[in-house]
């Protein structure tokens, strides 16, 4: 490759030309740009910088698109993989709205008069998410589903002034790891309870339940509500928003804090992020809630408008006593979720949820009949289920991929020969048939 001549290089992102720069230096009264950096110890100035030379847009696009082709993506392959991120419908209107510069390139709406668009979207998001979960209030989003769950545990400890976090053994094991990262340094204790018959002591701050759980099963929230109530603890539920189209929402069971992963609501799956964490609670706990909250008010002429509110909870005011250190969160993805919820709408959301349910149950019923395969777990499930395979799941997944199918998550380390399969509205009948046909090749 020819080496570009550096003396003439000017980035297309930098408007000021060398002669303008000179004018500005003259106005400042220094000889060179270098003089402006005189506070930096001379010994450490001008380090070598071993970064490749600049690339043209054409070359860059060519190279990166080629590199992208090395990945097996969800447009070319049928996807039966879930476990925290799902291939769900994202309406075509999401991306054009998301990429409008006025949304994409604005900052956190601290200047309310210059950010009414972002603020009103946040209020819409809070409204729809609290409706979805049937809770009093929601915030404007957290980093992701796992950190929301962890922050909910911390909040429950603040509310109850207790330090024992109880976690069911059926929550996503990665979420469990994130809860440990957040809670252990603060000297909080974490205990695991069996989902089957948990006994919650009267010293518990909270019980953490995933709904549906990591294996796809629908947990008995009524039972857990009774137990948390008896213990004077909070019921914290991490709920799948898509399942809430048909399942009774956690709020109806009396959950105290509800979190969730918002990715399913039209957010690109994008190798794990950026997503958006959902976070709701009851009105009486709102001052202990982490994250940004937008409220409705009026301006000096009586017009309705929106502002960031209850900011004294946050780090920029309360500093080390804040409810969380979160600052930049995931507002753009909350916008994506809001657009999706609006577009799918009231009747569509039920339909969407049921499509997941029927397709998953149909697939499960076929797989269960295959020789050598079984469904080891009992109980109701939503769109995800565990399958016990006749051989190790990674072998099966390789064969599936050869047939343009991305198989389920290999969970053989916790359940021997088992795979966690997710089926969504994006999986067609032919895809399900192809999955079952390939699996059948392993049945002996």
């Amino acid at each position: 490759m020819p080496v570009p001549d550096t003396s003439f290089f000017q980035s297309h992102y930098i408007p000021n030309t060398p002669s303008q720069q000179q004018e500005m230096l003259d106005a400042i009264g220094v000889n060179s740009i270098d003089d402006l950096f005189s506070d930096i110890p001379a010994k450490h100035r001008h380090p070598t910088l071993d970064i490749p030379h600049p690339m043209s847009e054409i070359d860059l696009k060519f190279q990166l698109m080629a590199l992208g082709l090395k990945n097996s993506n969800l447009e070319q392959n049928a996807c039966f993989l879930g476990a925290g991120a799902y291939n769900h419908f994202s309406p075509s209107i999401v991306k054009p709205i998301l990429t409008r510069g006025e949304f994409l390139t604005s900052y956190t709406p601290y200047q309310a008069e210059a950010s009414q668009g972002t603020l009103q979207v946040a209020y819409e998001f809070q409204s729809l998410i609290s409706n979805l979960m049937d809770m009093d209030v929601a915030n404007d989003g957290m980093y992701d589903g796992a950190t929301s769950f962890a922050e909910a545990a911390l909040m429950a400890c603040r509310v109850t002034k207790r330090d024992e976090i109880y976690v069911l053994d059926t929550i996503n094991p990665v979420y469990r790891e994130v809860i440990e990262t957040y809670a252990l340094p603060q000297k909080l204790k974490i205990y695991t309870l069996p989902a089957k018959n948990p006994i919650l002591p009267a010293t518990a701050a909270c019980l953490l339940v995933q709904y549906p759980n990591f294996h796809g099963n629908i947990e008995d929230l009524a039972l857990y509500k009774r137990q948390t109530e008896d213990a004077g603890a909070l019921l914290v539920v991490s709920a799948d928003p898509i399942a809430m189209g048909m399942l009774k929402p956690p709020g109806e069971f009396g959950a105290d804090i509800v979190t969730g992963e918002g990715q399913g609501l039209g957010v690109p799956i994008s190798y794990g992020g950026p997503y958006v964490g959902l976070f709701c609670t009851r009105k009486k706990f709102v001052r202990q809630m982490p994250g940004r909250i937008v409220g409705r008010t009026n301006d000096s002429e009586g017009k309705t408008g929106y502002v960031l509110t209850l900011q004294t909870r946050e780090q920029h005011i309360r500093r080390e006593r804040a409810t969380s250190n979160i600052c930049t969160s995931q507002a753009l993805l909350a916008l994506a979720a809001t657009i999706t919820m609006a577009a799918v709408g009231k009747t569509g959301f039920r339909q969407l949820s049921e499509l997941n349910y029927h397709k998953a149950h149909y697939a499960a019923s076929l797989i269960e009949k295959l020789p050598g395969f079984s469904l080891p777990l009992e109980g109701e499930f939503f769109n995800e289920f565990v399958v016990k395979c006749p051989t190790n799941p990674s072998t099966i997944n390789k064969r599936l991929l050869a047939n343009e199918i991305i198989g389920g998550l290999d969970i053989s380390s916790s359940m021997p020969d088992c795979m966690l399969i997710a089926v969504t509205e994006m999986n067609t009948e032919p895809q399900i048939t192809a999955l079952v046909t390939t699996l059948a090749e392993f049945g002996s």
Partner: protein
């Protein structure tokens, strides 16, 4: 007269008309299955019913109520509101990247891992550190990761009594909040009259319970602390570790490596320095970079590389003493891809031009406005400059009113009332992507506001006048929180 504005701002639920739909879903193409027990099912979902065209127009009109980088000069200090290149979005949204499932086996995502691996390397090179984790989802999470590593390192070395974290009084609020979440006690250190850390106060705190210090470099005052190497030495000699908040790295790209100065750990804000769009409050990415002593503690995952005879193979790993997972997956991948494209597109020469022009632009504004606004630190600034809007306080014009008046003129406001240590602070960060013509117009505007403050203080005091909404009643919002739409009570 019609009220188009009120119509445009009606909420989704207020627009809802039973029977409208916003998207057609496919019919069920498999046999219907038995539904779960009825007591598990929900009866009602209060969601809007709207057609697609109304939804698009609604959100489009809302967007037009925002100021943004694409439409306005946005000199918001500490936030580095630079132009966000469109190619970054195009690539991050392409199916080869946006269409990957985070749980796919690594063989299927080698292209994605290649980018992450190289990005780790570039950030190591830029910071002069020896290890990088891309896992943190924003600056504050990078801080949390950084201070958790410090805590674990101290504990592993039998120093669990070291719980005192020093934080300069000018620091961003996330610093003390993160330190607290990692179990440290926060002690504030003052800034001296020239804007550097007060060394005497620092020495007095260098006791055997010292865990370390979190320093923003350049500081939130837009200054490069002249004693930075000495500060690192003082802390190290006292047995502590030194953290750099690298949110202001736009000033230093290619000019100096933070690692060379003596820092042990730092985070970067890719949504500032590396041009990824801020999205109205996220997403961001806050990679952490560390010296070798802290490498075993980095948050998972790290991208590793196996050099096989004729093929490279990338994999995900968790360092052996890792502080653990910070989130469900591997970081804000879409943001990381954008930052990668940005670095490749600017390359080594371009990165240096960023910091040069960012610092030049800030000093130009400082020089041009210093006769008009009080300048608390009259020395070379870095990528941003702080003024103190105290001059017209007797006329009721303060930092807030000047900020709001700028909105009337089509400029976003500077960061106001931060840092907390400067009275009526106005922190102005122009970034390198603004032209001299824009800066000149901004400077002229600031001068006329100064003029207005003298001759027509009420005009400034009552600003903004031209925005979609006037000044909002924040006290009401906080006293009677209205945080969601609720269905009006049926009579």
């Amino acid at each position: 007269m019609n009220n188009i504005h009120a119509f445009q701002r009606k909420l989704l639920m207020e627009r809802s008309v039973p029977g409208r739909i916003g998207s057609i879903l496919p019919d069920l193409d498999v046999p219907k299955q038995n539904l779960p027990r009825p007591e598990l099912l929900r009866d009602n979902l209060d969601f809007p019913e709207l057609s697609e065209p109304e939804i698009v127009r609604y959100f489009t009109n809302l967007s037009r109520l925002n100021f943004s980088i694409d439409t306005n000069f946005y000199p918001l200090g500490s936030c580095t509101m630079k132009y966000n290149p469109k190619i970054n979005d195009e690539i991050a949204f392409s199916p080869g990247y946006a269409g990957l499932h985070p749980n796919q086996p690594i063989d299927e995502v080698q292209g994605a891992l290649t980018i992450l691996y190289r990005l780790q390397g570039y950030l190591r090179e830029i910071t002069g550190m020896s290890g990088v984790s891309l896992a943190p989802l924003a600056g504050a999470q990078g801080e949390l990761a950084g201070v958790l590593m410090m805590r674990r390192y101290l504990m592993d070395n039998g120093q669990e009594q070291r719980l005192k974290m020093l934080i300069p009084d000018s620091a961003h609020g996330t610093n003390p909040a993160s330190a607290k979440m990692a179990g440290f006690n926060v002690v504030s250190v003052p800034t001296d009259d020239s804007g550097n850390t007060n060394l005497e106060a620092l020495r007095a705190e260098a006791t055997n319970d010292l865990a370390g210090i979190m320093i923003t470099l350049p500081s939130t005052l837009g200054l490069f602390d002249k004693n930075i190497v000495e500060i690192c030495n003082i802390i190290h000699q006292a047995g502590g570790l030194v953290y750099a908040d690298g949110a202001n790295m736009n000033a230093l790209l290619g000019q100096v490596k933070i690692g060379d100065l003596g820092f042990d750990v730092m985070h970067l804000n890719l949504h500032k320095t590396f041009s990824t769009p801020h999205g109205g409050g996220g997403p961001g990415a806050g990679p952490v970079a560390v010296k070798s002593i802290l490498e075993p503690y980095l948050p998972a995952p790290i991208i590793g590389l196996n050099q096989e005879p004729n093929e490279k193979h990338y994999y995900l790993e968790s360092p052996n003493k890792s502080i653990g997972k910070l989130a469900a997956f591997h970081g804000n991948f879409g943001v990381l891809v954008r930052a990668y494209v940005y670095i490749r597109s600017l390359g080594d020469y371009g990165l240096k031009q960023i910091s040069e022009n960012a610092v030049l632009n800030a000093n130009y504004i400082k020089e041009k406005l210093k006769g008009y606004y009080n300048l608390p630190f009259d020395r070379n600034c870095m990528h941003e400059v702080v003024f103190s809007a105290t001059k017209h306080k007797d006329k009721g014009v303060n930092g807030l009113s000047i900020s709001k008046r700028l909105l009337d003129y089509g400029f976003h406001a500077p960061t106001m009332y931060f840092p907390l240590t400067v009275d009526e602070a106005l922190l102005i960060e122009p970034t390198e992507t603004e032209s001299k013509e824009t800066l000149d117009l901004f400077i002229e505007t600031m001068k006329s506001i100064d003029q207005e403050a003298q001759s027509q203080p009420d005009l400034v005091h009552d600003a903004p006048h031209n925005t979609p909404i006037r000044r909002l009643d924040e006290a009401k919002a906080a006293r009677e929180p209205d945080l969601r739409w609720s269905r009006p009570e049926e009579p």
